[in-house]
């Protein structure tokens, strides 16, 4: 099969999967078999694409040309393949997890859930492999719209309110800023194709480039850069698998991925380093990292704490992109994958605790390690990875980000990264430690193991192990990230 076909399969397989899931809606078993097999096929497709990319190819395909030079087109390049691999690979794990979670939680409208999930994956694949800004924007919006029913899945007033914030902020920023920036770029550069070295370099005046950068970065609301972060904590009313895959991986990573892609392929890092607002945005990202961490410390609801942690961690990637030094960009690209792996494990754990013990608040989680040793063990491992300690994969991305700050001569931001790591320790580690070593609150006793359904536990143990394994096999990831830079 040619690479062109593979790309189209990767983007449209989830759509046809959604149709099949809808058709199989009557029988839950069949529906989940379809979901899983589509997920596996998708991952296999992306892996095949990866082989080509590792061999140095950049296959592309034009789907449809709307105006001359303005097409819906796809191209596979190293950064896209990182995001594509992360999203499709974790979709398999999440599907397994969902089967346990959704059933034991007796959720309603499960078919709609799986259908929207598949559609969202299609959006994520489109974002990952977009060959130009227009295609990226199109699939970015598909991702927003298809995840909206997932956020409001519970149907409660709170869920609807969260859904309104979700759609409001994401659509507002994208239409007001991102689309304007896109059209402006088209006007300035005459093209929107993602090109190594950027397309704006010789064409945009410093003032225009500065304004465009602001519009692009704040327009990507999914990156949750402050002050456009409020949708993310609200969206945590969604079922745990949604929070896990979409709000730790596909949706938020689509945001930071877009920023990184814009930085590297629209501006080009050499040009970006000279854009006056880049430094400002780097400091905004630094502030978001710290403020997000501080707010996370004060949250008692586990999922909200993780949400603020996500906000903070996303800004690592924005920071890396805005520093525009080669090592920082490599770190940022790696962080897309490493943070995804860690954070999805944490969300899986939060969901598992909810399913097994019906606990949502951290203050109630003392001593639960005895009942849920696997879950809390995985939580511990993932926390360490987020903090960035060896031997866990989170170390590598932070390592390169820190080197990147040095390369860009931004010692203050290096300080931010270090302080943030300490804050991570402060808000993540107490949870597993108290779970294992404290006595349960209000006289509860945990006798025997009471874990979530096995598919869920298997999923979270798998991702936690992934954090460890990838630490030792991080080289392919580094190579991919390195290939982003102009050689």
């Amino acid at each position: 099969m040619s690479s062109e076909t593979l790309i189209l399969i990767a983007v449209f397989l989830p759509v046809s999967g959604a149709l099949l899931i809808r058709l199989a809606g009557r029988s839950p078993n069949l529906r989940e078999v379809v979901t899983l097999s589509v997920a596996v096929l998708l991952f296999a497709t992306v892996l095949l694409l990866l082989l080509g990319v590792q061999a140095g190819e950049r296959p592309g395909v034009v789907l449809h040309e709307i105006l001359p030079g303005l097409a819906i087109a796809f191209e596979v390049e190293p950064l896209g393949i990182i995001f594509g691999l992360v999203a499709s690979g974790l979709w398999i794990v999440t599907s397994i997890y969902s089967i346990g979670y959704m059933r034991s939680h007796h959720e309603k409208n499960q078919t709609r859930f799986y259908v929207c999930f598949a559609l969202a994956l299609s959006g994520a694949m489109g974002v990952a492999f977009a060959a130009n800004m227009l295609t990226l924007f199109l699939f970015y919006e598909i991702l927003t719209l298809s995840t909206y029913p997932l956020v409001t899945h519970a149907g409660t007033e709170e869920a609807k309110r969260a859904g309104r914030t979700y759609l409001g902020i994401l659509l507002f920023t994208s239409i007001a800023f991102l689309l304007t920036a896109t059209i402006w770029t088209w006007n300035v550069a005459g093209t929107l194709d993602f090109t190594v070295g950027g397309i704006l370099a010789d064409k945009a005046s410093p003032a225009v480039a500065a304004a465009l950068l602001l519009l692009f970065v704040f327009g990507t609301g999914k990156a949750a850069l402050m002050p456009f972060h409020r949708w993310l904590p609200g969206a945590m009313v969604a079922p745990a698998p949604v929070s896990a895959l979409l709000h730790a991986v596909a949706v938020v990573k689509a945001g930071v991925f877009s920023i990184l892609k814009i930085a590297v392929y629209i501006f080009g890092i050499d040009f970006l380093a000279g854009v006056s607002t880049a430094q400002v945005l780097a400091y905004v990202a630094g502030a978001t990292i710290l403020i997000g961490s501080f707010i996370a410390m004060r949250q008692d609801n586990l999922k909200r704490r993780l949400a603020y942690s996500t906000i903070s961690q996303l800004s690592y990637i924005v920071l890396g992109a805005m520093l525009a030094s080669p090592l920082a960009v490599i770190g940022a690209a790696m962080h897309i994958a490493t943070h995804a792996l860690g954070k999805i494990t944490l969300f899986f754990c939060a969901g598992a605790i909810d399913v097994a013990l019906h606990k949502k608040n951290i203050s109630d989680m003392r001593g639960i390690g005895r009942a849920m040793p696997f879950t809390m063990g995985a939580f511990f491992v993932a926390s360490l990875s987020i903090i960035g300690l060896p031997p866990l994969v989170g170390l590598w991305s932070k390592w390169y980000l820190a080197l990147g700050t040095l390369q860009a001569d931004e010692l203050a931001l290096l300080g931010v990264l270090m302080v943030s790591s300490l804050l991570n320790v402060a808000y993540l580690l107490p949870i597993p430690i108290r779970a294992f070593f404290s006595k349960p609150a209000n006289g509860e006793t945990f006798t025997g193991i009471k874990e979530a359904p096995w598919p869920s536990v298997a999923a979270l143990v798998f991702t936690a192990l992934g954090c460890i394994v990838l630490f030792f096999c991080a080289e392919p990831l580094y190579r991919l990230a390195h290939a982003i830079l102009p050689q």
């Binding site: 409001t152 609807k160 507002f172 239409i175 007001a176 059209i183 402006w184």
Partner: protein, 497 residues
């Protein structure tokens, strides 16, 4: 080409005009509907044939009774008029197809043949304006269309339509009379009513006072007809209380035809001659366009009646169309003409979806459609697609025109930047008011004691989806409207240095 293609411009008017009395003679409403729809389909086919001919580079000039041009009456079709003809006949055909099921609730069976007669007259008038090459003929067609649409609007059961239509009649007649004064003054100075002739002869008298006064009268008169802010006050009530399919028809094309004339006169007749005429665009029409966008969308935000909300949105969209034209650049005028086409698609589809809702819901207020999506998923699906097009999301027709409009604005330097902000703000407001409908239909529980709704009749639904899919089609394959509108812009601007 076969020989009869020569007669197409005349047939465009003659077919609906002559079918009108025939339809009146048919006593049964089914037959009357079938005859009217056939006539409308036939003129749609003629419009398509004309457009294809124009795209092939053909020019259509037709002399009525074979009298030569300045003496006889001339008909002519170029890219700009072909685009308008497509809109008018297309909207009429879709709305008539939808009328079969939605009209029974609004008009008694025995009056329906008369209603269809008025409809065909309106169609003949609206189609007559683009094909005429004679200023006075245009006036006559304008009044035929206007009188027939007053009848159509007041035909519904809602008595509030009557004061609304009375207001429309007064303002419409004043507008038409202003236009008449304007062409009278031009005739006085040039001795001709033929547009092409006028354009040649006006050179000699270009900066004399009567021509300037004529320009003023014609601009104001047509702006009244086109509902240019602040002359739009007749529009919201007229659209709101008209029978639903009439709203579909008129909202899609009646103001567009007036804008067509406005642009024709301002660029074609006056532009090459009047010194400093761009003043009229940059200092007069552009601020009005900006106000229309902001205020029209702003009012739409707070309207609770669906049709009224969309009517105010139309006021705003007229603003976009004028904004593009006010740049007096090729890109700007192309965007303007393109937006005429795309907005007609979006608004037509939206009002068709509203027609579907009206067949089942108790009213058209946001409260009355609460929870409608649960039982009418297809209707609301079409509404969402058309709504996205109105907002200008990529993949829809609205996006293409917004794209060209913003590109044109960016070429305008510093003011362009501010105008881009206005356009974006307008889109965001559109996002909000469309969202309010979506939220009511999808996420509100239906009012207690309301019987569960059913999906709209299949035929109506099919028509609505045809319009919604057209929005997607022309969003992905916009070559037809783009080539027509850029050809139109070239014709309009051929005298502008």
């Amino acid at each position: 080409m076969i020989e009869w293609s020569h007669h197409l411009p005349a047939l465009q008017v003659v077919v609906p005009m002559l079918s009108a009395p025939l339809v009146m003679l048919l006593r049964s409403r089914g037959l009357a509907w079938a005859a009217a729809t056939t006539a409308s389909l036939f003129s749609f086919a003629i419009a398509i044939a004309l457009s294809l001919g124009v795209l092939d580079g053909e020019t259509f000039n037709y002399r009525m009774g074979d009298w030569p041009a300045p003496y006889g009456i001339e008909l002519g079709v170029d890219a700009f008029s072909a685009l308008l003809l497509l809109l008018v006949t297309g909207a009429s055909t879709l709305a008539l197809l939808a009328a079969r099921h939605s009209l029974d609730a609004e008009i008694e069976a025995e009056r329906q043949p008369l209603f269809y007669t008025a409809w065909l007259l309106a169609l003949a008038g609206l189609a007559g304006i683009p094909v005429s090459a004679d200023a006075f003929n245009i006036f006559v067609f304008m009044e035929i269309a206007a009188l027939a649409s007053y009848v159509l609007i007041s035909g519904g059961p809602d008595r509030r339509a009557l004061p609304a239509v009375f207001k429309y009649l007064i303002m419409g007649t004043i507008g038409a009379t202003f236009y008449l004064i304007g062409i009278g003054l031009i005739y006085l100075m040039t001795g001709t009513l033929n547009l092409a002739d006028m354009e040649l002869r006006i050179h000699a008298v270009a900066d004399l006072k009567p021509i300037l006064v004529a320009a003023g009268f014609i601009t104001i008169g047509l702006a009244l007809k086109a509902a240019v802010f602040p002359l739009h006050v007749w529009l919201p009530s007229a659209y709101t209380y008209a029978p639903n399919v009439v709203t579909v028809f008129l909202a899609a094309c009646s103001t567009k035809v007036a804008i067509y004339l406005l642009l024709r006169f301002d660029f074609f007749v006056f532009q090459p001659n009047l010194v400093g005429h761009d003043v009229q665009f940059t200092y007069f029409l552009m601020p009005l366009a900006v106000l229309a966008i902001l205020i029209g969308s702003g009012v739409a935000l707070f309207e609770r009646n669906l049709k009224r909300m969309l009517a105010y949105s139309s006021v705003a969209q007229v603003g976009y169309i004028l904004l593009g034209a006010s740049f007096v650049s090729l890109a700007g005028v192309t965007a303007s003409v393109l937006h005429m086409f795309n907005h007609a698609l979006a608004k037509g589809a939206l009002f068709l979806a509203v027609t579907c809702l009206a067949t089942r819901c108790s009213g058209l207020r946001l409260d009355s459609i609460a929870g409608a999506a649960r039982h009418m998923p297809w209707t609301m699906g079409a509404f969402v697609v058309a709504g996205l097009s109105l907002i200008g999301i990529p993949g829809t027709a609205g996006f293409v025109s917004k794209w060209t409009l913003i590109s044109a604005a960016l070429a305008e330097g510093a003011t362009g930047g501010a105008l881009v902000a206005v356009i974006v703000l307008g889109s965001l407001m559109a996002l909000i008011y469309i969202w309010r409908v979506v939220e009511a239909a999808y996420f509100k529980a239906p009012e207690k004691g309301v019987a569960p709704l059913r999906e709209a009749p299949p035929m109506l639904l099919a028509v609505t989806w045809a319009a919604a899919l057209a929005n997607l089609y022309f969003g992905l394959v916009p070559s037809l409207p783009i080539s027509l509108s850029s050809a139109a812009a070239e014709i309009l601007l051929r005298h502008v240095p």
